[in-house]
């Protein structure tokens, strides 16, 4: 007699995969951005009847590779960073994007349209400082390197990405020429030499949550940071400020791991998440730009001014070059490790 509830429980557990049919696993980076996606995309999508399971990861493509190689796909939609889109597409980790089920290609910013992924939002790596502690605002990357005019530590991401570009800008290279210069041996030498200049003053960060924390704690005078993280700190009432000059903007993408069993539902989700209305709603919760240009008229001017894609902010910005980093990334990462050991 007592076995009965147990049997029911077991039957319930066994039935789970059957019920999971209308369940979609969406993987993102969590944090403030995950929260904004939840409000703007997940909750409206769940109203259509499907359940969304949100999983957080840290951008490890190895996890997708392991799933695809084992043919056991438990992730349906994944947010990936730009270098991983083309690389994963080339190596057969992602499904080809079915553009017939999405808003028209012409509506998107050009970089958002790729073979395997569709742009989810535009974000930027920028210079940030604590406006309570710094009376004169830094204007250029030259100021970031100027430890006499602005004494104190500088926060920078651990690794060569963004930092080498910023170093060249501080050394006087125009944003348009950065990747041309960096691709040469002399250019890379020049960037690392400039990094060495600042080395004693650099405090490296590992996670995106650290830079605003460094600024608030007073550990650093200025730092590089993801603009959305600074925005999230501002919403909490911290007086942090952004210098948009020479920021590096980039897109994150939605992709489908190869062999996902929920492809139809996944495409429906991506279609909704690239819809103008939903994208406009998303920008209210975190200051990352929409990829669908039709969303722009729906965003009010105050919110628009905080986005990396607004006319004023994008004017002096540099677009992150994924082809360059796909080619040179591994060698430069290694050189950075050697540089850090010196």
């Amino acid at each position: 007699m007592k076995l009965k509830p147990l049997l029911i429980a077991i039957a319930g557990v066994l039935a789970l995969p059957v019920m999971a049919q209308s369940q979609l696993t969406v993987v993102n980076f969590g944090g403030a951005n995950g929260g904004a996606q939840k409000i703007a995309y997940f909750e409206p999508f769940e109203k259509t009847g499907a359940k969304i399971v949100q999983v957080e990861y840290n951008g490890e493509q190895a996890k997708i590779k392991a799933m695809v190689e084992a043919k056991k796909i438990s992730w349906d939609v994944v947010e990936v960073e730009s270098p991983d889109v083309s690389r994963g597409c080339d190596e057969g980790l992602f499904e080809k994007m079915d553009w017939s089920k999405l808003p028209p290609k012409a509506d998107f910013v050009p970089a958002a349209v790729t073979e395997c992924g569709v742009g989810a939002f535009v974000w930027s790596t920028v210079m940030a400082y604590n406006a309570d502690k710094l009376k004169t605002a830094p204007v250029t990357w030259g100021d970031f390197w100027d430890t006499k005019k602005f004494p104190g530590k500088r926060g920078m991401r651990k690794g060569p990405r963004y930092n080498l570009e910023f170093a060249l800008m501080a050394d006087g290279v125009a944003p348009a020429d950065i990747y041309k210069v960096l691709a040469t041996k002399d250019g890379a030498d020049r960037a690392f030499k400039k990094m060495t200049e600042l080395k004693p003053n650099i405090q490296f960060w590992e996670a995106g949550a650290q830079p605003p924390q460094f600024l608030v704690a007073g550990d650093v005078t200025m730092t590089t940071a993801y603009n959305g993280r600074i925005d999230a700190a501002q919403r909490e009432g911290k007086n942090l400020a952004i210098t948009w000059t020479g920021g590096i903007y980039d897109l994150d993408y939605w992709v489908l791991p190869k062999g996902t069993p929920n492809k139809d539902l996944a495409m429906k989700f991506i279609a909704m998440a690239t819809n103008p209305t939903e994208q406009a709603e998303y920008t209210k919760h975190i200051s990352y730009g929409p990829t669908n240009n039709k969303a722009l008229p729906k965003i009010d001017a105050k919110v628009l001014a905080l986005l990396p894609t607004s006319a004023a902010n994008i004017k002096t910005a540099l677009q992150f070059n994924t082809v360059f980093w796909a080619d040179q990334g591994e060698a430069l990462e290694k050189r950075f490790a050697a540089w850090a050991a010196q």
Binding site: G218, D219, A331, A338, A341
Partner: protein
């Protein structure tokens, strides 16, 4: 005569019984051995194989490899190699395979990824062309095909096994002619990182001994009830997540954290001391996390040391200090050795603590293993670094076994 016979049959019977016993013992440990083999030896073997496996180029660029076999590697490659390359690339059935090939070659020469993928996607139609014309077409498609390093990379990897990953882990490489040479200073990272890994581990072990020894001694002199209570305090950090403990250290050690405020309040320093995002922060947190591994073996050894010897020494005229260091401490060597080995080997594999509390120059080898696994998705390199770590650790352990004279062993 018969007595000898009896002796031999007795010996034989005894031998049989012994053997049966051994078989039974083996049968009892069999599940454990199978478990160990499946969860430990097989993955370890796979790791070592991945570190030298190199199928990407040899499997796809078959004809190119043959065409390059007689090449002197100083002048431009033969025209046949260009046409063989186009044939091979066109024969790749799936983009995924081309992507894997491009990734492999890109680890050798930066830029090979886009070069291979662009040429593969172009699907050049060269069926009716001569080898020299194919070369021209290829150079027109991407002039980088005229640069030798790309061809060196293809020629070098025309074998299913490669020493390159392991060589790179030791800051060595094969040059175009196949000679093993040291890499340039801006590429040489891993020997410094390996050295750093061992030096951080050694310092952590030493500090753990210096802090753990007096504490364990004090615990061993307490009554059982008090010792148990204190032991719970020692073990308490064990039950807290490592990440929580690291976050706690960040709060304590930051520029305006408790420690710095205390130092400034007492007037020991005028300005905050940098305790975080450098070597010091890493060592402080690692010592805190690993201290129980030192105290537990020390405590158990110290509990078994009879107090009579020290008393006898003192009663025979030794000073208490001399008696402690010459009679007591030598009896606790097995505990120091066991604790030291445990702490040292555990800290060699540390990853999260240095990643969150250290600067760019304080990362240990595991950080780069994780980077190659997760970010670069270059598993050959990750496995090679893992193998180097494994081999050096085993070598250190065998040195310890040889000179340590302690009866502790791990296998």
């Amino acid at each position: 005569m018969s007595a000898t016979l009896d002796m031999t049959s007795l010996a034989a019977r005894l031998g049989r019984v012994e053997r049966r016993k051994r078989v039974r013992a083996m049968a009892l440990t069999l599940p454990l051995l199978v478990f160990l083999a499946l969860t430990f030896l097989v993955p370890l073997g796979a790791l070592l194989v991945r570190a030298v496996e190199n199928p990407e180029v040899a499997d796809t660029l078959v004809h190119t490899g043959k065409a390059l076999s007689g090449w002197d590697r100083k002048t431009a490659p033969p025209d046949a190699a260009f046409s063989a390359l186009v044939t091979d690339l066109n024969a790749i059935p799936e983009t995924a395979q081309a992507g894997v090939l491009a990734r492999r070659l890109n680890t050798e020469v930066s830029g090979a990824r886009s070069l291979i993928m662009n040429t593969y996607r172009a699907k050049l139609d060269t069926a009716s062309l001569s080898a020299a014309q194919v070369k021209e077409t290829l150079l027109a498609q991407d002039p980088r095909w005229g640069e030798l390093p790309y061809w060196w990379a293809i020629a070098k990897n025309n074998s299913r096994w490669t020493p390159d990953y392991l060589l790179t882990s030791l800051d060595l490489k094969r040059d175009a002619q196949g000679n093993i040479v040291r890499v340039g200073p801006e590429e040489a990272a891993f020997s410094a990182i390996l050295l750093r890994t061992f030096s951080i581990s050694a310092v952590v072990t030493l500090v753990c001994i210096l802090i753990g020894y007096p504490l364990a001694y004090w615990l061993s002199t307490l009554s059982a009830r008090k010792a148990n209570l204190m032991m719970i305090l020692v073990l308490l950090p064990f039950w807290t997540s490592v990440l929580v403990r690291i976050a706690a250290w960040i709060v304590l050690l930051q520029t305006n954290g408790l420690v710095n405020r205390f130092l400034m309040f007492t007037g020991l320093t005028d300005s905050p001391v940098p305790l975080l995002f450098n070597r010091l922060g890493v060592i402080i947190a690692m010592v805190h996390i690993l201290l129980p591994f030192m105290i537990l073996p020390l405590f158990s050894v110290m509990k078994s040391v009879p107090p009579n010897f020290v008393r006898a020494a003192v009663s025979l005229g030794s000073s208490p200090m001399a008696a402690f260091f010459r009679i007591y401490v030598p009896q606790t060597y097995p505990g120091i050795a066991a604790g030291g080995l445990l702490v040292f080997i555990t800290s060699i594999g540390y990853y999260v603590t240095p990643a969150l509390l250290g600067g760019a120059g304080d990362q240990m080898l595991s950080y780069y293993v994780a980077q190659y696994t997760n970010v670069e998705v270059n598993w050959g390199m990750a496995c090679a670094l893992g193998s180097v770590l494994l081999v050096t650790t085993l070598a250190l352990y065998s040195v310890y076994r040889r000179f340590g004279k302690a009866e502790l062993s791990l296998g």
